[in-house]
Amino acid sequence: MIELKAIHKSYSTGQQQVHVLKGVDMFVAEGELVSIMGSSGSGKSTLLNIIGILDHYDSGHYRLAGTPINGLTERKAAYLRNRMIGFIFQAFNLLPFKNAMENVALPLYYMKVGRKERNRRAMEYLEMLNLTDRWNHMPNELSGGQKQRVAIARALVTQPKVILADEPTGALDSVTSQEIVEVLKNIHDLGNTIIVVTHEHEIAEQTQRQIILHDGLISSNEVDADILPIRA
């Protein structure tokens, strides 16, 4: 599903050149639930941005579901993001002036799906996340866990190839965090490919595989054999 080969990325801040990714090789198969761990400054955000087609890389190769991602125009990148990637953020990033259903339906708007169909599909995913009775609530009327579930529904609604979750539990207490992890595991069971970026071991341990990023390179890419029976 995701193939990264020798990805290099550096930023220039003023006079200095910061080499963030120093040749990352990474492979995620279809239907995998993997976590990317790393301390701050390890380059995990940059890696996630590149996987999410939000950022360019300097050299290397990246293929997403067979499509080479390289030198795209903004328009083309937006198109691929819309159809192939579902984002889940630490800060939820729901639009405050839209209700839960409208928030979930937003990516479909950019997919040019008709209004009725959009709302129908949004309701479908809200139901899947047990939020049917909250569909017309505004984000400020929802708890943190509910907000993140709305955001997950929004990530799922376009049926993307891969779901990228950037610290999805970072803003939640431990009970709610676990609840969200369970949700992620459930949707993984439905066949979705999920990449979770986190620095919490409890979260990472519940994924099939932990990719540890250290100083711009992948230092550990082991399949955690212990986790598999839990899932099954």
Binding site: N49, G52, L54, D55, E74, R75, A78, Y79, R81, N82, R83, F87, F89, Q90, A91, N93, L95, F97, K98, L106, P107, Y109, Y110, M111, R115, R154, T158
Partner: protein
């Protein structure tokens, strides 16, 4: 544009910031309101003043001014001349481009009043000769009976057309003056019509205290057969009076042996020249109105642009999210531009509406109070001008949004979505 969601988005954002949006929109509203009010008022003033000219805007009058000041061709100075029918014939035969040339006489000096008696009643009015179809030239219009016709002139009929003030003073309130008789210096005239001055300006009172009789009758009955008081002429259609006036002046001076530089003997009044001047003034007023209004609209649009910049800044996170979810730069630009255009257009339309409402109310009020014919009459803005104003609005809305939209399209989702 028929995408309901875009409209909903705009509605939602505007609703969220009612005060801010309202204050911004007020700038544009005020610009358009001013434009409509200024142009309408200018039009009203123009209409009022132009009404004073009536339908006739190109006649030239010639009369005898001073006695001659310079000796010429063996004739001494201090000579008084007077025009005759021969002069009229000469003008008619020698000057091309003339549509009409007529003699106009009056009793006493021009504008002086004559004492007229009718039974018990009497008054002082100016008695003037006229010809058929000349009512517009005298700035009057027939409200009862008829005006002088050709037969009256040819047969030297003793008929009179009286001004409204004459009717008031010489007749009973409910009396119909038509067919009644008037005594002018011992000669009886039959009243056949009543005329009302066109304007209600300074000349109105004077024009209401007038009695018109056929010029041929006047000259015959009051011993002026050898004299023409005033020569009036009208150029052919499409010929400016300024072309004809000097030709006639030269001809008259030659015929009466006046030194070419002896100005003031052959006096004249060129109505078209006055008309042109007034028209020039109103062109200036219109230009000035547009200048002021466009300035105001631009100030309003810059206000909208400023607000849109703030909006983009405030919504950076939202725009970043939209881009992450698949919004193309174009769709972001369209979103911002559309919002700006809607804001300016709605505000401007309200300005247009209220401006027109103001003009219409003023017109209605003036009509109710019977002030329709004054120097200020029926303010109005024509449809074409209003359309231009709307186009100016839409364009200014687009221009106002250009910079904020470019900024919005350039939002980097990575930076926008970074946690604070």
């Amino acid at each position: 544009m028929i995408d309901i969601d875009k409209w909903q988005e705009i509605y939602l954002t505007i609703k969220q910031h009612k005060v801010r949006t309202g204050l911004t929109a007020f700038g544009v509203f005020w610009g358009i309101f001013m434009l409509v009010a200024l142009l309408g008022a200018g039009k009203g003033l123009e209409r009022g003043v132009m009404n004073g000219f009536g339908d006739v805007t190109n006649v030239v009058f010639f009369w005898v001014g001073n006695a001659s000041q310079l000796p010429y061709k063996g004739l001494s100075k201090g000579r008084t001349i007077h025009y005759t029918d021969d002069d009229i014939e000469a003008i008619r035969s020698r000057i091309k481009d003339i549509d009409l040339v007529k003699d106009l006489n009056g009793l006493g000096n021009y504008g002086s009043a004559q004492y007229i008696v009718r039974g018990e009643k009497s008054g002082s009015f100016s008695v003037r000769g006229s010809h058929e179809n000349m009512a517009p030239m005298h700035q009057v219009r027939v409200i009862k009976g008829r005006y002088i016709n050709k037969r009256d002139i040819d047969d030297k009929r003793k008929i009179a057309i009286i001004g409204t003030r004459v009717e008031e003073l010489l007749f009973e309130q409910n009396e119909d003056p038509i067919g009644k008789s008037l005594n002018i210096y011992g000669v009886h005239f039959q009243v056949v019509g009543v005329v009302k001055p066109r304007s209600s300006g300074d000349n109105a009172q004077r024009d209401a205290e007038v009695i018109f009789i056929p010029n041929s009758t006047l000259r015959y009955a009051f011993n002026q057969t050898d004299t023409v008081g005033t020569i009036v002429l009208r150029p052919k259609h499409g010929v400016h009076a300024n072309i004809v006036q000097p030709q006639v002046e030269k001809l008259l001076m030659e015929r009466h042996k006046i030194h070419p530089s002896d100005a003031g003997v052959v006096s004249s009044f060129n109505l078209q020249e006055q008309y042109d001047k007034v028209q020039g003034l109103f062109t200036g007023i219109t230009f000035f109105s547009w200048l002021v209004a466009i300035g105001t609209i631009m100030a309003g649009a810059i206000g909208v642009g400023n607000i849109m910049l703030i909006v983009v800044k405030e919504r950076t996170r939202e725009i970043g999210l939209r881009k992450a979810l698949g919004a193309t730069p174009i769709s972001i630009v369209v979103m911002i531009v559309q919002e700006s255009v809607v804001l300016t257009t709605v505000a401007g339309y309200i300005g247009l509406f209220l401006g027109v409402l103001l003009l219409e109310s003023v017109t209605m009020l003036m009509e109710k109070m019977g002030m329709g014919d004054g120097i200020f009459s029926k303010p109005e803005i024509d449809f074409g001008t209003a359309m231009v104003a709307v186009i100016v609005l839409v364009i200014s809305g687009i221009l106002a949004a250009a910079l904020p939209a470019a900024k919005a399209a350039g939002v980097d989702p990575i930076l926008a979505l970074q946690d604070e």
